[in-house]
């Protein structure tokens, strides 16, 4: 959910440069924290996680105008540090194919990597009380809601509240046009409440639909995460023993 598909040239330099610096700092910290004797096992693992995320994003879901992201799942499986590193690799590769701007890789990584980190900790906290599938769903919902709020704040503050944007749902490429109108609507209805009238010709419904789309996206992803995790708990429960931090 949190993947801001922000193009280059929209966010002011101060913000994306700060994001980039923060992101690189975290990368250095996480890379340094991989212990020397574990590096041989963990680096291929992070690579595989990154590849999995790229693949999850490319899976068509029938006519649903949504694609999966599953940062939380990757956080649960890889742990916060490796999860973050994998997210960075994913965002960079996506930026290279024009999927999100190159300059906003830092911000994108902070948000999506934030989901991975948050998801990991929530999952760990919840799995003491709940089953692994419900923990995963809980972690997914909470982490996505939080990152969505965070993103609204970042985008809102940086672009200026008057132009604040809500996150874009993971729109599948073939059906962008339809979905993007919904996004337009949400942006406008939130930030330009005074101008809603002007924008009416583009949009038929208002706030309820916006919230519905966001929630549907979050629920869908949580559902898939839950299904996959419940499958793991049957087949490879060892993978769900929370990965070590780092």
């Amino acid at each position: 959910m949190s993947h801001i598909h922000l193009p280059d040239g929209v966010i002011p330099p101060f913000w994306w440069i700060t994001g980039l610096i923060l992101c690189l700092a975290l990368l250095w910290i996480f890379a340094g924290r991989i212990k020397k004797d574990e590096v041989r096992r963990k680096i291929p693992f992070a690579g595989v996680i990154g590849a999995l995320m790229l693949i999850f994003m490319s899976v068509p879901l029938g006519i649903l105008p949504v694609h999966l992201n599953l940062a939380v799942l990757c956080g649960i499986l890889a742990g916060p540090g490796l999860g973050f590193v994998a997210v960075f690799a994913v965002n960079t590769i996506l930026a290279l194919i024009g999927h999100g701007g190159f300059t906003v890789i830092g911000l994108n990584t902070l948000l999506m990597g934030g989901e991975a980190i948050l998801g990991y900790y929530i999952f760990r906290a919840a799995s003491g009380r709940l089953g692994s599938a419900s923990s995963a769903v809980t972690a997914n919902i909470l982490a996505l809601l939080l990152s969505t709020v965070l993103m609204i704040l970042i985008v809102g503050t940086s672009v200026g509240l008057g132009e604040a944007l809500l996150p874009h749902d993971h729109t599948h490429e073939s059906v962008h046009a339809g979905e993007d109108h919904i996004d337009d609507r949400e942006n406008n209805s939130e930030s330009h409440s005074g101008e809603i009238k002007d924008a009416r010709f583009l949009f038929l419904t208002g706030w309820t639909a916006v919230i519905a789309v966001i929630l549907a996206g979050i629920l869908l992803e949580s559902l898939v995460t839950g299904l996959i995790v419940s499958f793991f708990s049957k087949v490879r429960p060892d993978l769900l023993k929370p990965a070590a931090e780092g």
Partner: protein, 287 residues
Amino acid sequence: MEHLIKVKCIRHVYPDKTEVDICGLDFVVRPGERVVILGPNGAGKTTLLSHILGLLSPVEGQVEVMGMKPDKDFNKVRKHIGIVFQNVDEQIIGPRVYDDIAFTLRNEGFSRQETEDRVSEVAAMLGLEDILEKIPHYLSGGQKKKVALAGAVSMMPEILILDEPFDGLDPKSKSEMIDMLNRLNGEKGITLVITTHDINIVPRIADLIYVINKGKIVTKGSPADVFAEVEMLREANLEPPILTDLFDRLAKKGYPLTAPASIDNALEQLEMILGGQVQDEERIVSG
């Protein structure tokens, strides 16, 4: 129907511009036949099967399965074909063996009772009763192949397509697999289309062989006929089965031998021409 499958000189272009031609003779499969496709690595065997399954559409040429175009009538054709891919790991989807065998049945809306009956029947046929509750991930290679086969025959398809089904199996499991396939063919009348690099077992499983090489179907014929064309085989990175080769060379030297279908048959033929050569004492010594 005269033929179940008919493929006429197709050309396929992969997204990266790799061109695969499968031209020359027509590829025709008749009901109840056991057809084996041979050819070197990269000849286009898997590509041909993908066209028959409707997974690919040819740029040129015609593919017909039961009178339909598999790429257009995918959902109709699919119901008549069972398939076992080379890498069965990528084919087994169910969380338990039972679920995997039941996968297609459930998708096609069989009732719970029907599904259960059908799974039991197939499991009994392939000797999988004891592992129905197991998680496929932990099965041995041979067991996984059987599960994939069970999933493929659960709908009792007219045609069963197998891409290198004997890979990685030990000799006994391979023999069992062959027997199982021959039983499916004999008892249920299922038509078999198989690719393999294991030449030596081909006489045990083939009524008809097609050889693909360099973009052409270069030969079709019974195992005896095809394996007699040694030059053509070598051309296609292939070789005749060992026994066929041996007997062929002996025959060329004038001995009245024909390509044997099995080791027992080979023994018989050899004994015939050797008949009476051995002295009794020798026989006692080495027996």
